[in-house]
Symmetry: C2
Subunit: 201 residues, 2 copies
Amino acid sequence: MRTKNLEKEKAIRTIAMQIIAEEGLENLSMQKLAKAANISPRTIYIKYKDKEDLLIKLFIEAVLGPYEEAVLKGFNPEMDFAEGVKRIWLNTFCYLKNNPHAFALIKHGKSSPMLQKAYRENNISEGDFFLPVQIFLKSNKKKGIIPNYPHEVHRAILFAPIAELVNEYFDNVSRPKQIITEKILMLCCDVVIKGILNKIS
Amino acid sequence: MRTKNLEKEKAIRTIAMQIIAEEGLENLSMQKLAKAANISPRTIYIKYKDKEDLLIKLFIEAVLGPYEEAVLKGFNPEMDFAEGVKRIWLNTFCYLKNNPHAFALIKHGKSSPMLQKAYRENNISEGDFFLPVQIFLKSNKKKGIIPNYPHEVHRAILFAPIAELVNEYFDNVSRPKQIITEKILMLCCDVVIKGILNKIS
DNA sequence: TATAAGTAAATGAATATTTACTTATCTTTA
DNA sequence: TAAAGATAAGTAAATATTCATTTACTTATA
């Protein structure tokens, strides 16, 4: 039996992400992908059932998985609240900064109905992903350090700004001066933390 | 001369937005749109140069324009800081809640390279749109009410969470209980404001 | 009646996927 | 040890469909 060439599998994923990042999800075609990866279209179908299967696996296995891992590196739910939030912010910034293609696909994940379906079918976002963060929030609510809002609400307040700031970072890459530095990021993080903390006074 | 049928023009825009919201930008085709709008494909080309022209005009004229108008209703840059921010949050929530298709297209605007190009070519986001908000931020920075961070940074901190909360609102529409109410929204807004305000104490 | 608005049908290019074939490599046999 | 067979990996080219856009024509109205 001929053995699977893992380089080709990797090339498919890498180049698919590149095309999506540079030309958009709507401009990724199987034939274009095959040509760019220097393989036959048929080869893609050996590894993936169809285009949807490819995109969903790309999204979940090649993007969301590594993303979660990077974001949670060195984080644990027992950390001090401010310290934990800062760790997540820094991890998010560092990872996305160095993986612009992943960031592009994550953004598509927010708008593409197909990728949304992938989220739903894989029970992602509610429970499976970022579980340590949920435990972290829960315990800090219990301790009275932060208010008792639903998790989703805390997520929006604490982590929506960092995504927006990363976006701004990429907008500024091609401009003379980068305004989104690690320093300004930490100032923002302090602002967000200051807002959410219950005054124990 | 035969007169233009404005209803057809409106149908094109309405149905295009519907398809994009329900099936995604990548699943909008000119023929599908024509069929759904009960017109000939040629009719679209009478009103728009090509598909890109249609999408960009849809995005800018039918979505971003009305969106900006709705968000700024009753707002002026001289307002009290907290009052102004709350007004924008409420306006955003009310508008997007009632215009889910517009919200879908706005989300696509964050990921689609074509719509990003539209932003750039029309000098949007930096200067033209939401100018009163920029003036508002500038004057509050000058007065020392909020820190002297770049506008983009303030935008991320103050307004990224509301977009995320609207997203959460729509996720919950099909579920038994809506967690994103106007009340919780105002609590969140208070949190965000509390964080950004300079302590004058 | 002049003319732009509109249509039905066609065009050629691009799309996802498949067919019919070739190739590499593991396992088995001599 | 080495040749042969089995088989999945891989390819080039084809398929049927859908795509954006156009052509050649009809219709409504100033």
